[in-house]
């Protein structure tokens, strides 16, 4: 089992992080007209490195607090290129481009996963 999990590991983690990032960008777009709202984003590379590098920490005692590779650890505020008077740092163009890129990369991770699963299924069937 763990071999199959390792086989899918990078793209499975990437897919999860891409989804989280999509939701964060959706929040930014939703708050584009709210005065004083500060746009957030995650450092994707650092988050992915953290998620696959450390692996899952085992808890061996009831007193242990489980540690998850959460994207929230890498959450940062966006630096606006042009500041607005109402203190809102959402720039529609920037958010749209980031969202488009995130979507394309989500789809490529999904494609890679699909290809790997197809390969595994073929190997199991032995055709």
């Amino acid at each position: 089992m763990s071999l199959i999990r390792d086989h899918l590991n990078v793209h499975a983690q990437a897919l999860q992080l891409r989804e989280q990032r999509g939701n964060i960008l959706a929040s930014n777009v939703a708050n584009a007209a709210t005065p004083g709202f500060k746009a957030r984003d995650i450092d994707f590379q650092a988050s992915l490195k953290q998620a696959i590098g450390s692996g899952e920490l085992k808890t061996t005692s009831v007193g242990h607090i489980p540690v998850s590779g959460n994207a929230g650890d890498q959450l940062q505020y966006r630096q606006p290129t042009i500041t607005s008077l109402d203190g809102n740092t959402v720039e529609m163009g920037v958010e749209q481009m980031e969202f488009a890129e995130n979507t394309v990369r989500y789809q490529s991770s999904l494609e890679f996963l699909n290809a790997k699963i197809r390969g595994l299924t073929r190997a199991m069937r032995g055709e």
Binding site: G22, A32, A33, G36, L75, N114
Partner: protein, 136 residues
């Protein structure tokens, strides 16, 4: 309560829709007159506020709340029209304080925001549907 993209976008869209409704109401009352200064129509605006998913703001998820709808503090114009049926004893009427150009800009922005949010939610929904078919 954990938020998902449908909560985020749905509430953002209803906030923008409320904003469009206030614009409609302002434009409808753009040329109304009244007998006294207090009753004259003044433009109304919604007040938006960010609502975070969690108090510590660790997930980065947030949506929009309309906290109240306020009446703008604008000076109404007084004009002398003694033959007007609504004129007061001195012959004056009070015209509503609505700037139609400003309302049109407000309407454009609200509708763009609405479209942007809708586009985001429909893209993410497609991605979810594709993910459901993974491995088939």
């Amino acid at each position: 309560m954990a938020m998902n993209v449908f909560d985020i976008s749905g509430r953002a869209m209803s906030a923008q829709m409320l904003r469009l409704n206030t614009v409609a109401s302002n434009l409808a009352n753009a040329n109304t007159v009244s007998t006294n200064k207090e009753d004259a129509y003044r433009a109304i605006r919604p007040v938006f506020e960010t609502e975070y998913n969690d108090q510590l703001q660790q997930t980065g998820l947030s949506t929009v709340n309309v906290t109240e709808v306020v009446q703008l503090d604008r000076e109404v114009t007084r004009s002398f029209q003694p033959d007007h049926p609504l004129a007061d004893s001195e012959g004056y009427i009070y015209e509503s304080a609505v700037n139609t150009d400003e309302e049109m800009v407000e309407m454009m922005e609200a509708s763009r925001q609405y479209q942007n949010t809708l586009e985001v939610v429909s893209t993410l929904r497609t991605l979810m549907a594709k993910t459901m078919r993974m491995g088939q």
